[in-house]
Symmetry: C2
Subunit: 314 residues, 2 copies
């Protein structure tokens, strides 16, 4: 049996699911989780949808976003089957202390872990939302308008609304089918790209004022002070790392987000063939070829130098 | 016969075409014109592709862009059949003094003119490129990779790369087919959206650092000093006025560009129903409901106050 067939038979044979996705959830995680929950419930199954972090304000256009809970007691989960979405280890979802009856992983990130009784991992697929789309079609589940909106949004977020190099003919075909099923492309794009809060926009302006370009590497920074001044959250920085990609001669865009004193969460974005996952791995991080991340403990100047050396060395 | 069938039989019956599109051509005009020329030449026909203005530098990724000429003598055209693309009167293409054997119009703009022996005008279609795509399929012409890139780019430009409200299931299906025929979505999107010069990007960062929001009006400013510092030109500010539209609760975005001492070129952008043409008219400017402009002579503070009063008064 293929991994997909395995998952299909598992979902058919079980009734009570705990769908969890990663910390700081973005559109692909949220849309995939909500859509899968709706699909399983349409078959009369029971689902809990869990994310440890709250749904960011600007994703509340997703129908059914309020299905997502961030409170759970470990007692509740023992008889449930975990479906871990858009990530592949329990700690990425902050559920490492919970126990489950079964564990399933559906993800499109590279992984070397063995977690999961059943694993369906497709690193070459642009979005977990596209995997859920395939799964639902395989199971013959009707794609309602609400499911379509969630899956369209999931795919749109992870392909930069069809602008990234992972945008294939298959992605566009799925988007066309989801639009036919009731997803409104213009509304979803406006919700994703033109629904920023004022404070989030001010934070971006501040981040861009830190722009530094060395060789063909662009650096921008958000400090804890900036979060305080603009009353924003780490989730407000989603996509900041992509903004410097607008420049034609930028090879790598590096976004620093201060977490604790002296700790930086680093998001790396590249164009075309430059593999930033390789860079992130040197700092115990990981990701995809064009989008990766890691954490560095150093002062900002040193952190920039370390990354620049790693990039030059590749 | 439908207009499309009329065009098909006309193209089959004739051999020598003069394909022209509008002044200041953008992606839909250029891609449509080049693709149609390639398609007709694949049938052994002869084409001249004309635009009075040169192909902008950032559209030179279109295969066959150098088929487009901007020199022509009136003597040459008398035996040719004009195909006017993405506009509907000869003056929009700067060819009002030329004479042709026949005249054909293929366009998706509203029109009240009667120009054209044969007219195929579909204002509800998002892009002329989509009409050419339908035409080629109707004629059974093979969509080569070069044709696919041109048509994909044409459709992408006029739908904001699938973000505007005109993005339909049909648009996405066509895009999927063109991607299958060899158009590379990531490369095309990068060519359209991620080919800014560093200096243009730095200018944007500077402009955003001037952000001021009063009520639901966002103001950003570019001064002559900023142009000097970044070695940029007024044309580099194209689209700056749209950037603050990213915020969900902004009614009007106002972009000030300093021309001469004390003179400001003002670009106004709005969302949905707020009519900025009415505001611009109060300052002897004009435009459309969601995009208008005017010139104001005043110090910046006064100019902001004047605009704010006009906006509050509407």
């Amino acid at each position: 049996m293929t991994p997909l067939e395995n998952i299909v038979s598992f979902l058919k044979d079980n009734n009570d699911f705990f769908i969890a996705t990663h910390l700081n959830p973005e559109g692909d995680a949220l849309g995939s989780a909500i859509a899968l929950s709706m699909a399983l419930e349409s078959l009369g199954k029971n689902t809990v949808v869990y994310d440890k972090d709250p749904v960011p304000e600007f994703y509340k256009f997703l129908p059914g976003y309020n299905k997502i809970t961030n409170s759970v007691s470990s007692l509740d989960t023992k008889e449930l089957s975990l479906i871990l979405l858009d990530c592949n280890t329990p700690d990425r979802a902050g559920i490492e202390k919970l126990t489950f009856k079964h564990t399933v992983v559906i993800d499109h990130h590279e992984t070397e872990t063995n977690f999961g009784d059943i694993k369906w991992v497709e690193p070459q697929t642009p979005a977990t939302g596209l995997m859920i789309f395939k799964l639902l079609k395989e199971m013959g589940i009707k794609i309602t308008q609400d499911i379509a909106v969630n899956l369209y949004a999931a795919i749109a977020v992870d392909t930069g609304t069809f602008r990234y190099s992972n945008t294939s003919s298959e992605v566009l075909k799925a988007a066309a089918e989801l639009a036919e099923a009731g997803a409104n492309p213009g509304f979803i794009a406006e919700s994703i790209h033109e629904s920023w809060s004022r404070n989030r926009f001010k934070l971006l302006c501040m981040a861009l004022s830190t722009l530094e370009i060395i060789d063909s590497v662009a650096f921008i920074v958000v400090t804890k002070d900036m979060f305080n001044t603009t009353e924003t959250l780490p989730s407000d920085t989603e996509n900041f790392s992509n903004v410097p990609r607008m420049m034609k001669d930028i090879k790598v865009s590096v976004f620093f987000r201060e977490t604790d004193e002296g700790y930086w969460k680093v998001s790396l974005r590249s164009k075309r063939d430059f593999n930033v996952a390789r860079i992130a791995e040197q700092f115990d991080g990981g990701g995809h070829k064009n989008a990766a991340g890691c954490t560095i403990k150093a002062d900002l100047k040193t952190a920039k130098r370390m990354l620049l050396e790693a990039i030059r060395g590749q």
